[in-house]
């Protein structure tokens, strides 16, 4: 048992001892007609002390109870009714010996004394209960002045009670009356503290009206009784005059307070709806804000929005349209993403033919549009014929970065049914949806970007695998090659592969353009070359056949430049044809030359013209000869001054390294190009193959 429960117990135990003690004293006094001022005073203190303790006990107990004003008022009402019944019973039971002349007789039987004690206890407790309830109601949403007025009442209440303590003030009646009147003033002042009514729901307000009027009537009854000269009342006054004053004042307070409650609740009833609505708006907005962040439950959000709109605005039907722009066609499509209480057919009625006027208006104005009467408004009157229900229509745009991304619609059954609040609420909802949509789009965009990046990485790996993993390893020839894309994937292609009869196929190609589309064609070229290399007798034939195939598949504005060469190891010769590609740089002991055979790019023209204009050449290799194959990524590299690297520089650097190995030559050219570019990377795909003829052992 903790100290607080001991305290609570003491609050009940003490009155349980003191009140019977007082009763015993009363009986004795009545029997022996004993009267002593100090004992009378002590008795009065016992009585008041007991009630104070009971009051404190009730107060402590009440704190743990749930507060619901109308229910509390109902409880008080029933308590008052029960008390009145008890009063009536006791009054009937009391012998009618005492005449109503106002004089208080204390020559009473023990039964009468017991009755008056019990009555005082019941009505006293009731009065305390009443005061505590009023205390809670008056101090609801308290302000400084509220406190002040309430405590003024309490002070005056206790002062009036104190003034009625017999013998404390011999002529207490006048002072008590003055204090009583002053307390009444504060009763009236405090009775206007009815803030709590505003926060009641409509249902609660109805209860409040019923209970407060019932309570008012019951309390009026109590007031009348307490002012009457009925025997039980006089007996109660005889029991304790201060207690009686206390009871009377509180009863007055209750009467006036709940009278005012009744009237103000009555006046507040029409505003109940507004208040309830504001409350539901707040709750909805709270829920919405939470949902907005959960963009993964996007459909949830859309459904919640339509549901909330219909609940908060009391709309008959609600639907939400989102606009999406088809990137390929550039056309705007409208999708109904959420709807309540309306069919797609009905929605379509608004959207089709005549309805475009409404949509155009929304597109242009980007403001909420209120149509007070669907059948009468010029923008929607066509709906009358189509059987669309009469009523009002409210449309609110969904805006994102100033762009119209959707529309929230709501209809009500009557004309002029939407008010400014509806517009405000729907605008807020629409804003939330816009934010959520924006969020979700951003997230999916970044997911998409990440996905694309991953895919590009895969493409890059795959493309790298299309390039030769190992270069032919022969004693008579040295190869070194490199291919770098300026983007993740590129359109450059090279390959080196063995052919029957100690021959090696060499291919270099460049698809016009860069990036993914070029990469696709590059893969196609690889396939074509691989298959044709086995069946084509000469480079010219291979390129001509490749041209046939590519002409069919390439887009009109795409073409491919390529060189296909066959190194015949036994004959020490390189036979090649150039299909529009950068000419081979041939480095011999004495000279460096561009071998510019005629030729035309793949996919540019038909077979005949291609065959006619593409020439095949053969170089007879001598030991130490170097052939350099490259793409225009090298010759068209630019420095900061937008100067091109060009053929001159390439030929010059090649001439300085005639004794280099293939690898050294490749590295030297790359280094030279990089130095020329300076800062930054290659601006195009760069491919370079260096072939050095070492000569056959017998040669």
């Amino acid at each position: 048992m903790n100290s607080s429960s001991i305290k609570r117990l003491a609050m009940l135990v003490l009155p349980a001892i003191l009140l019977p003690l007082v009763f015993t004293y009363d009986v004795i006094r009545a029997a022996i007609e004993f009267d002593n001022d100090s004992i009378t005073l002590l008795r009065e203190l016992f009585v008041l002390g007991s009630f104070t303790l009971i009051g404190l006990f009730i107060e402590k107990r009440r704190k743990s109870l749930q507060r619901n004003a109308p229910r509390e008022i109902g409880r008080v009402f029933f308590a008052v009714v029960i008390s009145l019944v008890v009063l009536a019973l006791v009054s009937v039971m009391l012998p009618h010996r005492i005449s109503g002349d106002g004089s208080i007789r204390i020559h009473q039987s023990a039964l009468v004394l017991l009755a008056s004690s019990l009555l005082a206890l019941v009505i006293g407790v009731l009065s305390l209960y009443l005061l505590l309830i009023i205390h809670d109601l008056v101090l609801f949403k308290r302000r400084k002045t509220t406190w002040r007025y309430y405590y003024m009442y309490l002070i005056l209440l206790f002062a009036a009670c104190a003034a009625d303590v017999p013998l404390l003030m011999s002529e207490g009646n006048t002072i008590s009356s003055i204090l009583f009147s002053l307390a009444m003033v504060f009763v009236v002042v405090n009775s206007f503290k009815q803030n709590w009514i505003m926060y009641l729901s409509r249902r609660e307000k109805k209860y409040s009206i019923i209970y407060s009027i019932l309570l008012f009537i019951a309390l009026v009854g109590l007031d009348v009784y307490l002012a009457s000269g009925s025997e039980s009342n006089i007996a109660m006054i005889a029991y304790s005059r201060p207690l009686h004053t206390f009871i009377r004042l509180n009863a007055f307070f209750g009467t006036i307070y709940f009278g005012v409650t009744f009237i103000s609740t009555l006046f507040h009833l029409p505003t109940a709806e507004v208040f309830e609505r504001k409350q539901s708006e707040l709750v909805s907005l709270h829920n919405l804000s939470r949902l907005v962040t959960q963009v993964f439950d996007f459909n949830d959000l859309l459904n919640t929005v339509t549901q909330m709109t219909s609940e908060v605005c009391g709309a008959r039907s609600v639907w939400l349209e989102l606009f999406s722009l088809h990137e390929s066609t550039g056309e705007m499509s409208v999708d109904v993403v959420a709807k309540r209480n309306i069919t797609q057919q009905e929605i379509d009625l608004i959207a089709t033919d005549d309805g475009t006027q409404l949509q155009r208006y929304l597109m242009d104005s980007r403001k909420a549009l209120l149509i007070e009467d669907i059948w009468a408004d010029r923008r929607t009157k066509h709906l009358k014929k189509k059987g669309f229900a009469r009523g009002s229509l409210l449309t609110v745009p969904l805006l994102s970065h100033g762009k119209l991304i959707g529309v929230l619609y709501a209809t009500k059954d009557f004309q002029n049914a939407f008010d400014q609040d509806d517009i405000d609420v729907m605008t807020t909802f629409a804003d939330h949806v816009s934010i959520a949509i924006e969020n979700s789009r951003l997230i999916s965009k970044s997911i998409e970007r990440e996905r694309l990046h991953q895919e590009m990485m895969v493409a890059q790996r795959m493309q790298k695998r299309l390039l030769p993993q190992f270069l032919p390893n022969l004693p008579s020839v040295e190869f070194s090659a490199v291919s770098e894309s300026s983007l993740e994937v590129g359109g450059d292609y090279y390959d080196l592969f063995s052919l029957p009869g100690e021959r090696i196929g060499i291919v270099i190609g460049d698809v016009s353009g860069k990036g993914v589309s070029a990469a696709f064609y590059m893969a196609e070229v690889k396939g074509i070359v691989m298959s044709l290399s086995k069946i084509s007798a000469t480079p010219h034939e291979l390129l001509s056949r490749a041209n046939d195939t590519l002409l069919e598949t390439l887009e009109k504005n795409m073409f491919i430049s390529a060189i296909y060469g066959v190194l015949d190891v036994r004959n020490a010769s390189l036979t090649f044809a150039r299909a529009g590609h950068c000419p081979i740089i041939y480095v011999s002991q004495h000279s460096v030359e561009l071998i510019r055979s005629t030729g035309i790019g793949l996919g540019l023209t038909g077979r005949t013209q291609f065959e006619q204009s593409t020439e095949e050449r053969t170089i007879n290799l001598r030991t130490g000869d170097i052939c350099i194959f490259y793409t225009d990524g090298i010759t068209e590299s630019r420095n900061a001054e937008m100067e091109e690297y060009g053929y001159e520089r390439l030929m010059h650097i090649a001439s300085t390294c005639t004794h280099c190995s293939a690898h050294e030559m490749k590295e030297m050219i790359l280094e030279h190009v990089r130095t020329f570019i300076g800062q930054g990377t290659y601006n195009d795909d760069v491919t370079l193959i260096v072939m050095k003829w070492l000569g056959t052992s017998e040669g």
Partner: protein, 118 residues
């Protein structure tokens, strides 16, 4: 970055397009737009003056390829003129001189069109 400008003028039944600057993947769409416009206006006798064209990339060359077929179907042609040696080299490497009539002088190309008409 680098400027690319297209100027178009009509000389009787021949449309002359003057190119200036760098024609690459970034600026190719501009030339495409210009050709598109000529197509829609049914102007199929086209002379492209390359006097001030400093550079042309494969994407730039692709634009000519994209339209030449349609132009020729409509009994017209795209003729190229006034190329600098550097630009001519790019055309030449790819074998474009086989596919296109290339003239030193714009008037010569225009004359060809008018000669054909007569």
């Amino acid at each position: 970055m680098i400027d690319f400008k297209i100027h178009q003028r009509d000389s009787e039944n021949v449309s002359v397009i003057e190119l200036k600057g760098y024609l690459d993947a970034h600026t190719a769409p501009d030339l495409e737009t210009a050709f598109q416009k000529l197509m829609s206006e049914s102007k199929f006798n086209i002379v492209v003056n390359c006097r001030d064209l400093s550079y042309i990339s494969s994407a730039g060359l692709g634009v000519f390829m994209a339209y030449v077929e349609d132009v020729r179907k409509n009994k017209g042609d795209i003729k190229l003129t006034n190329m600098t040696p550097k630009v001519y080299n790019v055309f030449d490497l790819l074998g474009f001189p086989i596919l296109y009539e290339i003239y030193k002088d714009e008037q010569e190309a225009i004359g060809r069109f008018q000669g054909a008409k007569k």
